[in-house]
């Protein structure tokens, strides 16, 4: 992408990008076990980066040097980990107790296929037959303690400590993208595109971070080590935009599908630098890109760790909205992803220290 790109040259999401998202979504990468995702990303970005390294935490860091001197140092971070499971005890042949990694609603577990370990061995999370449970029992949640991963009675080669994920396979359908771990493989796929077409006037540190789902642990190390001038965090945020049961106006949607990238004003961990927020809004408006402000409230991103690092780093978060995060199947819109990529592309083209000429 040339430095002075105008809105007519902003990128689009094509089959190539969707195919990459499919590979990323289908890969297993639970917090603490991101290697499979990291490998895909490394292969994709190596031809486009000046350096690629995996740091102590497991973050994958790519550097793209600026052409001139005294360039602005921009960090863009997207977490590559997902929520999932770990096998923690063996009950009997092929039957394992498991723990949850990241925030997963117990009510989304029963009756699902899973993939275990690096070899993606199949397993299932079953449930008591409806014929044998009472009405009273069915009014209680199927608790994690009562659920097991069943890998088949002949399964003898599984190690305790193996990670597992939902077995969902990605599909693009109509206007939507459907799959597991779109939180945050959408952000990962966006960052890969940005790195491939990075403008020459900035120094870019592209960080594919680990362990976001258990507390933004990877991003903290990245910000500390690389000391950027400013940071953009790419993530996925819940859209709770469906109609209410009584058709009352749903005013607590957080974000809405089809309304474009979600810019954060405030979440549980971060009061975003409003100069960054204004810059993003202005850039979107000037380029005719739709955007939405995520309704302030709970949740957090890698920004929580990054903006408090060093002597403070101005940070923004931009998310692709998605429904049903942290379950077996998420739904997001291709148009929101494309507009997120376009907003970030336009922002990188025009970003400069001028953002900070006014006091915060």
């Amino acid at each position: 992408m040339p430095i002075n790109c105008k809105k007519q040259t902003l990128p689009t999401i094509e089959k190539e990008q969707i195919d990459l998202l499919a590979r990323l979504s289908n890969a297993s990468g639970v917090s603490g076990d991101e290697a499979e995702v990291r490998k895909i990303i490394r292969e994709e970005i190596t031809p486009f980066a000046d350096s690629v390294e995996t740091d102590v935490m497991g973050n994958l860091i790519a550097q793209k040097n600026a052409k001139g001197k005294c360039a602005l140092h921009v960090l863009i971070a997207a977490h590559m980990d997902e929520v999932g499971f770990m096998l923690v005890d063996k009950d009997s042949e092929g039957i394992y107790r498991f723990s949850l990694i990241g925030g997963i609603d117990e009510r989304s577990l029963a009756g699902k296929q899973v993939l275990i370990g690096k070899d993606h061995l199949p397993g299932v999370i079953g449930a008591c037959p409806v014929h044998l449970s009472t009405k009273e029992e069915r009014e209680c949640i199927l608790k994690l303690e009562s659920l097991r991963i069943d890998a088949g009675p002949g399964c003898t080669d599984l190690q305790l400590g193996s990670y597992a994920v939902f077995a969902t396979r990605f599909q693009a359908f109509g206007p939507s993208l459907i799959g597991k771990a779109l939180d945050n493989r959408l952000g990962v796929a966006t960052l890969i595109e940005l790195l491939k077409h990075c403008p020459e006037h900035i120094h870019l540190t592209a960080a594919f971070t680990v362990q976001e789902e258990i507390g933004a642990r990877g991003a903290a190390a990245v910000a500390y080590n690389h000391k950027p001038d400013l940071a953009f965090i790419l993530d996925s945020t819940p859209a709770m935009d469906q109609p209410s049961y009584d058709n009352a106006e749903n005013t607590q949607y957080r974000t809405r599908l089809g309304f474009g990238p979600a810019i954060y004003a405030m979440d549980s961990n971060t009061l975003y630098d409003h100069r960054m927020v204004e810059f993003l809004k202005t850039t979107a408006t000037e380029n005719g890109i739709p955007y939405q402000i995520r309704q302030p409230g709970g949740g957090g991103t890698d920004a929580g760790a990054v903006h408090l690092s060093q002597d403070g780093i101005p940070t923004a978060t931009i998310s692709v909205p998605g429904r049903y995060a942290h379950t077996a199947v998420m739904i997001a819109r291709k148009s929101d992803w494309e507009n997120t990529l376009r907003l970030l592309t336009a922002s990188l083209d025009s970003v400069s220290q001028d953002i900070f000429k006014n006091e915060r």
Partner: protein, 358 residues
């Protein structure tokens, strides 16, 4: 191809197809295609029951034949679209299942012209009539999201469209299959194994392999008896396998062989014959104690048209009525084998053994 891989492939095909109660045609067609070369005649009745008729030597010699039916229901549980809510679809159940397994489940909506993927979801607490904190969200508040926007959704989906599970089968070590509708496609596979083995035997009796419909809902297999007037009937279904959620006397271990039903629903002499044959052949079996009613096709069949001596052979299955039911291929093959051996021994005097001891 050996029998094991032939039946495994067939079963995987069957559980990749929809065949919801009352809408069994997709799976019935696949079964008919497979039974065609194994039987003399295929028939489909007004209510969709599938007959694979294999004539015995008596029939072929012009004698009046005896007839045994092997009845396995083809239908599975599913859902039906019952109303729209913006981009969301509400649904009603077809057959009995525990709604707690539904959130996050991928489904297919069969709209007549096309198949539309969707996922069953529980919405955020503020969108429900009650936050259901630490409670399961009840079935009538769960919805299907297709990813389509409302206008397009209304063009492509109609109230009344049938919904089936979308997940494809997986093989688990050593010889297990996991998937939806193994209740009762596993039994269809067992009956198919019987037909395969009967190609190698001479049998005296006529045999009718029956794929019944609507077992999960209306229990209409009495119509089969009305049609065929069998001398004997064996219903084949699944029973609870031991595993997470099932222990105690109701559960049979996976791979423990066919489970023979004992109780009022079954003719004790027929049961005794099946049991003593399997014992003498060294076929491992378990006893499935079903006091009072069995909840299987054995029930309407036994009670139809003045009564039919009926037995039930069940195949152990984990996680019944979830989309991740698990079954052992060994149990399926042994069930098919036992029935073939039994049929091969049926002669013109066999019915003399099916009498009450008074």
């Amino acid at each position: 191809m050996d029998d094991n891989s032939r039946i495994t492939d067939f079963l995987k095909e069957l559980i990749s197809l929809p065949g919801i109660s009352g809408y069994e045609t997709p799976v019935a067609k696949a079964i008919a295609a497979h039974w065609k070369d194994l039987t003399d005649e295929i028939q489909i009745t007004n209510v969709g029951n599938l007959y694979g008729i294999k004539k015995g030597s008596a029939s072929k010699n012009g004698e009046k034949p005896h007839k045994i039916i092997l009845a396995a229901h083809m239908d599975g549980i599913g859902m039906v679209i019952d109303r729209f809510r913006g981009e969301m679809l509400h649904f009603a159940p077809i057959g009995g299942f525990d709604p707690r397994i539904l959130p996050g489940q991928q489904v297919l909506i069969h709209s007549g012209k096309e198949t539309i993927p969707g996922v069953i979801v529980q919405l955020a607490p503020h969108l429900l009539s009650n936050p259901y904190k630490d409670k399961p969200v009840p079935l009538h508040e769960l919805v299907i999201d297709t990813g389509l926007e409302e206008e397009e959704l209304r063009q492509r989906v109609q109230v009344g469209d049938i919904v089936s599970y979308a997940n494809l089968p997986v093989e688990l070590p050593t010889d297990c299959i996991a998937g939806h509708s193994l209740d009762n496609r596993a039994s269809v596979a067992a009956v198919t194994q019987t037909l395969i083995e009967l190609q190698r035997f001479t049998h005296h009796w006529d045999v009718v392999a029956v794929g019944t419909t609507q077992e999960e809902t209306t229990f209409l297999s009495h119509t089969v008896v009305h049609d065929l007037r069998p001398d004997l009937a064996i219903a084949i279904d699944v029973t609870f396998a031991k595993g997470p959620g099932v222990d105690g006397w109701r559960g049979k271990p996976l791979s423990s062989g066919p489970s023979i039903g004992y109780g009022a629903n079954f003719h004790p002499k027929l049961v005794k014959e099946l049991q003593s044959l399997s014992d003498s052949l060294g076929i491992a079996t378990t006893k499935d104690y079903l006091p009072s009613r069995s909840g299987t096709d054995a029930e309407p069949i036994q009670n139809a048209c003045g009564g039919v001596p009926t037995a039930l052979i069940s195949i152990p299955l984990r996680y019944m009525h979830t989309p991740v039911e698990v079954i052992s291929m060994k149990d399926i093959l042994q069930t098919g084998h036992l029935m073939a051996e039994f049929i091969a021994r049926l002669d013109q005097n066999f019915m003399n053994k099916i009498v009450w001891e008074d």
